[in-house]
């Protein structure tokens, strides 16, 4: 069985999950640094701060979801199907939104949420407003996931 197409498809799925996950870790770390500072002054704000910290975390989950999508497409969850090199590159290309759009939005969402932490520190009642600024950045991560899912679905395999 020739598996070069499968290998290329795996590289796309893996890179998408990896880069999104790494960027989410960085985003959560950025916000977390501000969160630990505010929590040590006022532990009562912990709940609101935790919500802000997990916001940049969604991108990692999206990358993982896209990886599953590709794995289902090529049958990696049960028995792998035979892919040509071109189909493999097609799947790799379909994962590009997960490698570029998702990581960048995770890091920038982290930066926005960090400023949201400062807002919560001064005005604890304004959690909703602090979240909305960060959630706007989330739009593009969701769009990246949508693009990847649609492109993967459109590639003929098998």
């Amino acid at each position: 069985m020739e598996i070069i197409g499968l290998a290329i498809a795996i590289s796309g799925a893996a890179l998408g999950a990896t880069l999104s996950g790494a960027a989410s870790a960085i985003g959560c770390g950025l916000v977390g640094q501000a969160c630990t500072g505010v929590t040590s002054e006022d532990p009562e704000k912990f709940g609101a701060l935790l919500i802000l910290q997990v916001l940049p975390g969604t991108q990692g989950i999206y990358g993982f979801l896209a990886m599953f999508w590709v794995m289902m497409k090529v049958g990696l969850l049960a028995t792998p199907i035979e892919l040509t090199l071109h189909q493999g590159f097609g799947l790799l290309g379909a994962c590009i939104p997960m490698m570029i759009g998702n990581p960048i939005s995770a890091v920038w969402q982290g930066k926005v949420a960090t400023n949201g932490v400062a807002l919560i520190a001064k005005r604890p009642e304004e959690l909703g407003k602090a979240m909305i600024f960060a959630v706007i950045v989330e739009t593009y991560a969701v769009l990246s996931l949508l693009v990847t899912i649609l492109l993967v679905n459109g590639i003929p395999v098998g």
Partner: protein, 159 residues
Amino acid sequence: MAYEGIVIAMFVAVLSVTLSALGSFVGMGMARQAYERAVAGSERQKKFGKVLILQLLPCTQSIYGFLAMLLIMFKVGLPTTLKDVSPTAGLAILFACLPIMICNVPSSIWQGKLVAPCGEFLVKRPEKSGKIIIFPLIVEIYPVLSLLATILLLKEIPV
């Protein structure tokens, strides 16, 4: 029997454990340094147990890297009899291990940065230590996900 596939797989195994260990090393170093600066000696000794747990958080990534290495070894039959791994299968193994190789390094470094202020907090307010440990734990999700991704991708690669 050709050895190219085995060589690539071994290279990947070594790389994944090395990079993960390197990330953990830097993360743990950061955690310790910042903590040492923040807290005086006698206070530090009283809270030794809790601070040790905090410092071990960035260490988990290297354990995941080691686990990935074991998985690759079993995949190519290194402990008992070597399987005939084609270069393409070796390449597939390389790609499947990208999550462990890439994601572990930034996540352990950032976890280290998060753990550092927690040590100071632990000494100031020991009663709230359960809360503060959640922040670095959130970052832990991504190394766990990347280990899961590597396991799932490796499982069905035909060798």
